[in-house]
Structure formats: structure tokens, C-alpha cells
Symmetry: none
Subunit: 219 residues, 2 copies
DNA sequence: CAAGGATGTATCAAAATTGTATCAAAATGC
DNA sequence: GCATTTTGATACAATTTTGATACATCCTTG
């Protein structure tokens, strides 16, 4: 799920944004001044920020500095008049900007390209303290990279894509090894063990006796 | 010198563009219909194209298809009315668009970000104690120049432009050697080794077993 | 609860992949 | 044309991955 933070003091505009972005499948959080934004950014992670430069409380540009440090892409909203602001906004690290009043379709389009540019739409799978960047063949546990072999990685991705779903041994074997499951082989069990060990999965990677395996949060 | 192709049938607008872009130090070429544009693209190379979608002769979208094939970034110009066109333009591969009538300052800003995104502007890449001046084919380690051969340099630039991103062997090979990766070739490995040695990259240039390589700060 | 099948675990060797050294061909400069 | 540099090939070493085996342990069923 892609998370967008809307930093805008005019409630009408903020709600308009939220409505449309939510409808497009994004997960939105609204804040109405710069301090709130800074606080929230401390504790939560966002994929994109939509920022009105004319904010009460904190100066928009100071906030930009902080956001740049976090490396989160920003689309700036700015009043029609001030071209100077626009230039400043761009050079201070914004990914894009829109001039108020703006067309909603245009906003959605810009959100889309900014996200594409940041490869955020490419999927990062999450499960508890694990996150798996499929594109980059990276598995992170609590933010730290864990070295996985290609087979282990494939298996993990398969499991993560099917959280809370029981995967049959035969199904897994065919997906990963591409051939039918040789009944006596212990290969699959082995790789499951290796994943459990490397990622400390314990019984969050459940064994379904005689059937297969399932990844689910410990209850 | 950065070369921009302006494809616009209204002479007044075309000239306005040329005037401002030239003043900003870009090298501009003007054409006034799609056929001319296609012909010129056959024989010359450009860094950016500014394209009016409403063209006589060739359909703008057909031209887009061709441009996408050339991998040249495009900023689309479109009449205020047609929002549909804008959407189509974006999805057919444009990097950005502007609605006529537009502010010249805004255009310059967009040209700037699109070029930056495409790494066409003069840039010095940095990674730890390395900095690479792409224009001048110079690689510096702790400020001191390191002699790299052309192939080594190309490879380094590719890696530096994709820090923290896993580059697949096939992808690297195609980028640098321009042909499909011959499965048994050890050439790529060799050049990686040479870079590691010359630049003392150790395992900051990570091997992703069976997948490729990735440049990232040691954790 | 005991038997028997299924899974967990440790160890090891084969296979695959990558690292390294050396050398010759190709390109470049003088 | 010759010397030098760059590039890629080859052979072999080192490393990593993978699957097999053996045995321990666990689960299910009667």
C-alpha cells in the first residue's frame, strides 16, 4: 500500500486531495501545519508528500530541508501568483509542483509519474519486521540486509506473496524448481529450514503437516 | 552542449521557445511538422524534445512511439482544453507536459528537471570517497585522479548512477557492450575485478550471486 | 502410548558461480 | 611500423550454493 502525506492548511483542498487519492487506491494521512508534519515524519514512513508551501507554523522551505534528508519525494502546491516560490521549491529538492487551483486529473497524473520515478510502485513485500525488495533482490530484517541465495530468495518471495495461505509442497516445488515434486526429496524442507534460520522466522513459518507450509503472524 | 528539438507548428510559439532556451544556454533546433521531426531524428541526436501534440502531417502519438524507441525524454505541449490528451501523453511515455498558454519560467524549470532526471546535465557522481566527472571522463578517489580505461569508466558510471540498486548481469552487459549477454563470457566479471582493484572498492561493490552486482556503502 | 511416517537438523560433497592470474588479440598512439 | 594500452579469452583456484544422506525428533493415528 502506497502512503501519501498531505500537508495543507486549507481543509477544503486537503479533503479534496484525500478524497481523490483515496479513491485511486492510495493511503492518505492529512496534517494541517508544518509542525504536525515534522512530528509525523519522525515516527512514520511515507512514499510521497504533497506539500503546500504557504503553511502556518513551520516554514515550508525548512520542512523541505528535513524531507530532503529523508529522501521522500515531494509534490509542492503553490499559489498561482508566486513564480519565485516555484523556482525555489524545485531547486530545494521537490520532485514536482502544481499551481493552485489545479485540476484533479492532473494531480493524479503527477502523483503517478513521481511514484514511478521513485520506483515506489515496484513492489516491496512486507511481513512483520521483514521487507523484501523484489526488484533489487534484497531482503531486509529490521532494516538490515540479510544475505539470501537465489533459491532462498525465490522461496521467500513466494511465501510472502501468499501470506496466511497454505502452500502445498507440490505447488511450491513446481513454482521454484519448475519440475514435478519428487516424493522422496528433502530439498524443500531444507530450504525452509534455511529461511527460518536466516530470518529468525521460528514458527511464523508454519509447517502444515503432510500438506505444506504457511507464513503467518504468530498468534 | 545540450541539444533540444522543438516540434511546434505555430511559429510564434516555436520562436518564443527557441529564444528562451537559447538564452539559457541550450542548443535548439526547430521543426514545424511531424515528418520533419522524424527525419531529423533519424540522422541527429537530441537530449530533449519539446513536442506539440496537435501537429499537421504526422500524428503526435505516432511520433511519440518512435521517440520512445529512441529513449529521448519528451515534454509535451497541449491545448488547455483537452485533458484526455494530457493523460494519453503521459502514459505514452512523455516525461512531462505543459498546458498552453504556459509561463516561460515554468518551461525552463521543467526542462531543467527533465534533463536532471536523465542525467544529461553536467554532473559529478559521488559515492563515498569517489567522485566521477562524467563529462570529462575523470574519476577521482580522495581527490586524486585514477586512471581508468574507457570500458572501466563506462561501467563505473553505470554503477554510480544506480547506487543501492541491483544491476543484473544481463542488463549491465547490454548497457555497456550493446549486445546480449553471452552466458559463458567472463568479461563482465573481469571488468568488475579491475574496478574493485583500481578503486579499492572491496565489497562496497557487492556481488549478488547469480544475479549481478550492486554498489553500496558497506553496512 | 506406541508405531510409522513426516519433518527438523547437522554434515558433507557435487555442482555451479565467481575471483584471479596470465596471455594473446585488437586498438591506439607515436 | 613499433610500442603501449586496452580488451577479452582461457585456465585454474576459491567460494558459494545446492541437494543428498543420515539420523534425531515430532506428529498423527490406531
Amino acid at each position: 500500500m502506497i502512503r501519501i502525506l498531505i500537508v495543507e492548511d486549507e481543509h477544503a483542498i486537503s479533503d479534496l486531495l484525500r478524497l481523490n487519492l483515496t479513491r485511486s487506491g492510495y493511503c492518505c494521512t492529512q496534517v494541517f501545519d508544518g509542525m504536525e508534519a515534522a512530528d509525523l515524519l519522525e515516527e512514520q514512513n511515507f512514499d510521497l508528500i504533497i506539500l503546500d508551501l504557504m503553511l502556518p507554523g513551520l516554514n515550508g522551505f525548512e520542512l523541505m530541508e528535513y524531507i530532503r534528508f529523508l529522501k521522500i519525494p515531494v509534490i509542492i502546491l503553490t499559489a498561482k501568483s508566486s513564480l519565485d516560490d516555484r523556482m525555489k521549491g524545485l531547486t530545494s529538492g521537490a520532485e514536482d509542483y502544481m499551481i493552485k487551483p489545479f485540476e484533479v486529473v492532473e494531480l493524479l497524473a503527477r502523483v503517478q509519474i513521481v511514484l514511478r520515478r521513485y520506483h515506489k510502485e515496484k513492489c516491496v513485500l512486507k511481513f512483520g519486521d521483514l521487507s523484501v525488495d523484489v526488484e533489487n533482490q534484497k531482503a531486509l530484517k529490521q532494516g538490515k540486509e540479510v544475505d539470501l541465495t537465489p533459491k532462498e530468495f525465490e522461496l521467500l518471495v513466494l511465501l510472502m506473496r501468499n501470506q496466511n495461505i497454505t502452500l502445498f509442497r507440490e505447488k511450491i516445488y513446481e513454482e521454484i524448481w519448475g519440475v514435478e515434486y519428487p516424493a522422496e526429496s528433502r530439498t524443500l524442507d531444507l530450504h525452509i529450514q534455511r529461511l527460518r534460520k536466516k530470518l529468525d522466522l521460528g514458527d511464523r513459518l508454519k509447517t502444515i503437516f503432510k500438506v505444506g507450509y504457511r507464513l503467518e503472524e504468530a498468534s
